[in-house]
Structure formats: structure tokens, C-alpha cells
Amino acid sequence: ASIVLVQTASGKAFQAALTASELAGDPTKVPGVPPGALGTRSPFEKPVKVFSETSSRTPLQDLQGMLTPSDLHYERHHGGVPAIDPTKHELVIHGMVDKPMVFTVADLKRFPSVSRIAFLECSGNYRGAGDGKIRPQEICGLTSQSEWTGVALSTLFREVGVSPKASWFLAEGGDAAVMTRSVPVHKGWDDAIIAYAQNGEAIRPEQGYPVRLFLPGWEGNANVKWLRRIELADAPFMTREETSKYTEAVGGGKIRQFSFTMDARSIITYPSYPAKVEKGWIEIRGIAWSGRGKVVRVEVSTDAGKTWHNAALQEPVLDKAIAAFRYLWNWDGNPTEIMSRTVDETGYVQPFLKQLVAARGGNMGYHFNPVTAWYLQQDGQVLFKST
């Protein structure tokens, strides 16, 4: 500090404080912002979803670990996000039941609750790019993970007395699409949740506020949001979403319907396009999941699929949940392809794109979960490559 003399109240002269220019830009020299009612996101961080008219995609390449911040959870809706007053919203359960009932949101919260961390994924979640210039967000950003809390549907089934003859139920949303899907009753008894909380707080509007159906491991669209009605029946209802949409050609002129399970999948999120890397140690990072149960292994190849190595899985590895994986690798700087594949507890091994296309009679469509490769150029540029 330059020596400046300052006159004090008691008449003495002292060396002055550091000048303003000396303090500029040093956060230790300015009192910070006091505590507040809500935390903030650093203005230097701008993770955003990429959105179209019908969906918005989680920026997987910007995230770490296994959770998705709620405001970055992917969106897919068919009539937009409704504005619902929770005191006016009700869930009606009727059809093949002893006692048709109406539950307010407050009623639902009084029942025993369950929570689980699980992924949700749209079944239309694969894109590639001929020029390799595509990020994880665009490839498969229609997957996200939250801690979901709600009442087990089995608890409500018992409360209304579901008939043993009921084999399907219709789930209907209170949005502008009045979204409907038919779901086998056994899923309701097994592990379906009528969820009202996400990552601790109330479910976000984009994810179904105030209540949604949550079907662990099953395709996103069947997890009806803004749920207002459940009707028990002895056959599926054949709604537009399970006929015209969310069905896939599987060869021989056949169309597969009610393909609920999300098959095992993974993606390397680092390094990925548009990152540029340097030769030397690289921690390959990514996420892996399976709608069939637990991920038991994630294999990583750094030589275009010739040899595979087990990645480390972040604990806890949960049922029907995203697991973060990591694999430490010393890149010699020569161009190569890196890729990952998930093996789940059913023994299913995530396939290459060509295997999937072959298995479906040459068709592409919903439920495409191929291994995704990244090509590392000599200059360190990382580019997508289909398999």
C-alpha cells in the first residue's frame, strides 16, 4: 500500500488502508452477500436444457455424479405444462374396484410414503450425427434422475379394493393432452408410486406437479404426469400413445406394443463432443442405467471395442437407477475410439447400433439404446461415432 496519512477523530495520523485499486477484484476484500431465503446458481454456470416444441434435454455433459438438478430434468409433454392448483387437484380411482374413491393431494400425503432414487427416460431417446458434432445432451438427454417420494400404488389399490380380475389400469393426466396410458395391474402392485415429491421438495410442474405416476424402469411416457384418474379394467384401453406412438416396427411387418422396460444403457459424458483433450491421464466418466434392475458392470473400451475394461461404479448402485462410472486411462495421443457398455443383473449387454437395427428387422424407432462411441482425433477433438 502506498503510504497515506489519515487524520483520525482523536487527531492522530495513521497509515491509510489499501487503496481501492489494490482491492479491486479480490473477493477477500469485499463483504459478500448475506444469507438468504433461497440459494442461487453462479452466474458463471449456465447449464441449460436444449428444447424443442415437444421436449427438452438434460445437459448430461455438464453434470457429475448420479443426480439431476430438478430444473435440468428432461421434459417431454404432449400438451404443455398445466398450471395446477394443488388444493383443487384430485385423483379418482374407479372401475374394477370395490370402493371408487377420490383422493386430494393432502389425502395422498397422509398414506405411508416411499422414496427411491431412480431414473426416468423417454423411450424416444436416441439421436446420432453424421459429422460427429453432437453432444450427450442431444444423443440421449431425455434421461434424468431424481429421488421420488410418494405413496405406493399398492397401498391405494388396497384402499379401494382392486378386483382380482383387473389386469390393466388406465392412467390419465390433467394436462391439455389429457394424457392416457394403459399399464398392467401387476406393475401397480409391484413398485409403482403415486409421486408428489422430487429431490426432497414438491414435484416440479414440468415433472407432473402435484402428482404423477412413477413406474420404476419403465418408459417415460407411461409415467403419466399431473395424474387425475386411474381406471381399473380387464384389458388395455388402446390409447393413441400406445398405438400410434410409443410402438416400434420390429421386422416382418410387425409392430411391438407395450414395450415398457427401458433396456440397459450408458454414455460416456467426459470426454465427449465438443471437448478437446490432451494426451496423458484422462478420467473417462459417464452414466449407466437399466430399467431391468441393477447395473452390475460397465465396460469401457479405449481401442474401438477390441478390448474392454471394467469401470469403477459409484456407490450406491441402485435398482433401476443411474450409476456414475469412471475409468482412468492414459491416452498416448494416437487417434482412437472410446466407448462404454452396461451389463445389468439380467445378463443383458448393451448392444451396438448395428445389432439393434438387425434385431428389429432393419428398423429404427423407440427403445434404441446403442453403445455410443467417441472418436478422439490426433488434435484432441472428440467426435461422436455411431456403432
Binding site: R229, T243, S244, K254, I255, G347, L356
Partner: protein, 165 residues
């Protein structure tokens, strides 16, 4: 799960019984066998006019042009694999009624009367070559319509095992 449920009391007593009237207000679904179809009727000519007014802007003058989903197969009914329209992809005629009534027109969902929906359904089925231009569609005849795609649909046969399917 069911097992967890059994350790709980038989009933908690939360919520209230649903009356038939309030269920009827919400119970708008229509099943393949016709359950849920309302009384009334409508024919293709009526539907054509409503279509021109309320639908053509998004689905095209003849249901083939878009910009939104193609509804009518057109000349190509037996040809092009990639066209997915009511006439070559939808397995049940009842779904057309159900979906239009609940979700269309996209900008004014739930605004159509049942008569309008019958008319539009008749028109779209007619345009797809599946229904007579004159006969009014109603709860009785709609479920009887045989859809070309019906037999293409197979339930998921993946076994949640190692097989790639």
C-alpha cells in the same frame, strides 16, 4: 409392493367415496369394444366441414400435408413403409374418437362436442378409405370398423433377459 401393503391396516380411511356423477364427468375414455362412447352421431360430410375449419391449418387440407402429424394415408396406402397414418398404422377406430375428443384441436383441447367428434372421426376414417361417406358414425358401428393395421401389433415379447430384441 403387495407384501408391504399386507403389513398395513386394511384401510386407512383417507379420501372420500367417488360418486357416480363425479366419475362420469371425468370418465371420457373410449375402449376398443366401444365402452365409453357417448350417444349421438355424426357423418363424414359434417366432419369434413369442421375439419376444414378447425384442423386443416395444422394437418393439411386433406390430412396428408401437415405441418403436424399426417392423418390420412392417401394414395400410398399400400406403398411407402414410412407413412404412419390412421389408415395404415392405427389398430383401433375407437382410438380416433378418444384422442380427438380429449386432445384436439391442439390449441383448444376438449372444446369439441360429441357430435363434432363423431363427425370428424367419420371424416378421417372415410378419408382413409375405412368408412362410408354417408353413414353416420355412432356408438354401435364405430367399434365394428376393421382397421388395416390391427394384426400388425404384437405385445412386447422381450423377456427382460440377455437377448437383444
Amino acid at each position: 409392493s403387495l407384501a408391504d401393503t399386507l403389513s398395513q391396516p386394511a384401510r386407512f380411511g383417507f379420501g372420500r367415496p367417488a360418486t357416480e356423477a363425479e366419475i362420469a364427468m371425468l370418465d371420457i375414455d373410449v375402449r376398443p369394444d366401444g365402452q365409453g362412447l357417448p350417444t349421438g352421431e355424426g357423418n363424414a360430410a359434417e366432419g369434413k366441414a369442421i375439419y376444414a375449419l378447425k384442423c386443416a391449418g395444422c394437418h393439411g387440407a386433406t390430412g396428408t400435408e401437415g405441418p403436424n402429424d399426417r392423418l390420412v394415408v392417401g394414395d400410398t396406402i399400400k406403398g411407402a413403409r414410412r407413412i404412419r397414418a390412421i389408415g395404415n398404422y392405427w389398430p383401433h377406430a375407437t382410438t380416433v374418437f378418444d384422442y380427438i375428443r380429449r386432445a384436439m384441436p391442439f390449441n383448444q383441447p376438449g372444446s369439441l362436442t360429441d357430435r363434432e367428434v363423431y363427425g370428424l372421426t367419420a371424416y378421417l376414417l372415410h378419408a382413409n378409405g375405412l368408412w362410408d361417406g354417408k353413414v353416420a358414425l355412432n356408438a354401435k358401428n364405430l367399434p365394428t370398423i376393421k382397421m388395416p393395421a390391427r394384426d400388425k401389433f404384437v405385445p412386447d415379447d422381450r423377456t427382460d433377459g440377455p437377448e437383444i430384441k
